[in-house]
Amino acid sequence: MDNNKSSREIKVLDGNRAAAYGAMLCQPDVIAAYPITPQSEVVETLFNFKAQGLLNAELIEPESEHSSMGTLRGASIAGGRAFTATAAQGLLFMFENCIQVATQRLPIVMVNVCREVSGPHIVVCGHSDIMMVKEMGWIQLHAQSCQEILDLIVMAFKLAEDPQIRIPTVVCYDGWYLSHLWEPVEIPTRGEVEQFLPPLETGLKIDPKTPMVFGPLITSRPATEYRYKQSAAISRAKAKFDEIEQEFREIFGRGYGGQVEEYRTDDADIVLIAMGSCASTARVAIDKKREEGLKVGLIRIRMFRPFPRERLVTALKQRRAIGVIDRSVSFGWDGGNIFVELKAALYNSDINAPMLNFICGLCDSDVTTEIIERAIDIVGHAAQGKLCNEVTWLDIE
């Protein structure tokens, strides 16, 4: 294990450059991407890699994100490994093709640099863009550090391309808070990544001598069967992701816990649930509250689709109160998206602890340690049996 550690380079990279390194190491055949803030440096760095001879891919800058995903659909049908990156409005513009590639089970990997969707016109961090993807049949993974961005992209290709899965996968990280944060990142060697990620074998080849059919007009019965199989495959991705993460740890010497990562939860009475960059802020707040004697822990969701129901139910047993931090709103549900999902997951479990929702960090608001401490205090009150509001918008409380 970890024999190559000495030959690995450590570079100081921002999240976007870490993403470009992750994609480059996986040697995609086709990259089609359209630049959009805060993702632009991903594309810029990949073009640089190509110019330096580090990347052998066909690099295409089409006229829009819709065409990017359309291009990748063709590339993937032709048997190629395909990659793109986008954010917010660009992601929304892609939607039609995103759903097509998911139903056609094409193992494309995409990066989404989470950005609040405009209007009013805002070019800032938030999870409102990526939450729209949860019903589209994509696997959705969330990073918390620049190192994890790189690592998740390598894992995402392996997961998406697994013959038992074959589901496109989106790796998400927070705009600005991660995309423009510079951190030391260990770059795996090309050899290690090749060992971890075998060449893509889809059994697809565009050849006029043996014509194939893709996405034909079909009747309701087989179409329903394809939906069912797609649903079963995305569910299989939960256990497969834990497995892949284990394999990753054996080769690269680091891991993050698979679908969810737990921090100081062993004896925790109250638990916070968070996703993305604010989870690292939550650790600092939790350490501080621990020093004050409060038994509080953190569960970080790394896989949002498929939703890690089983792992969360196990991790939330025996808690006295639960707090969920959301960086997006499920309009019409009066709560955040993670909160809504978690409530559904806990139905019919034996968990009856009070569960509170904290909406914060929308539209570029900083999720500070003070904000998280405030959330912990409120959850602490709930654990003592006090009646609390179910949903609190912490930034405008």
Partner: protein
Amino acid sequence: MEFKTELEVPWAFSDKLLMLKTGDWRYQKPVVAVNRCSQCGVCYLFCPTGCVQEMGDHYQANLEYCKGCGICAKLCPVNAIEMVREE
């Protein structure tokens, strides 16, 4: 659950995909007088389902897919095709 299609994904070689047999919709079929067919190929070009096949000495619709619309019979310049009602 018993699946009607053995495929995991809706892409495959054409013989493996469960196709819509549009021939089921037909109430009349084109019958070709082989000795009259001049092999001009007009029926082949204009068939909306693309089911007309070249048979060597004449053209013939594949009845698994022919919907019986009669366009081939209408366009045939030598009146070699007759639409015959099916019961």
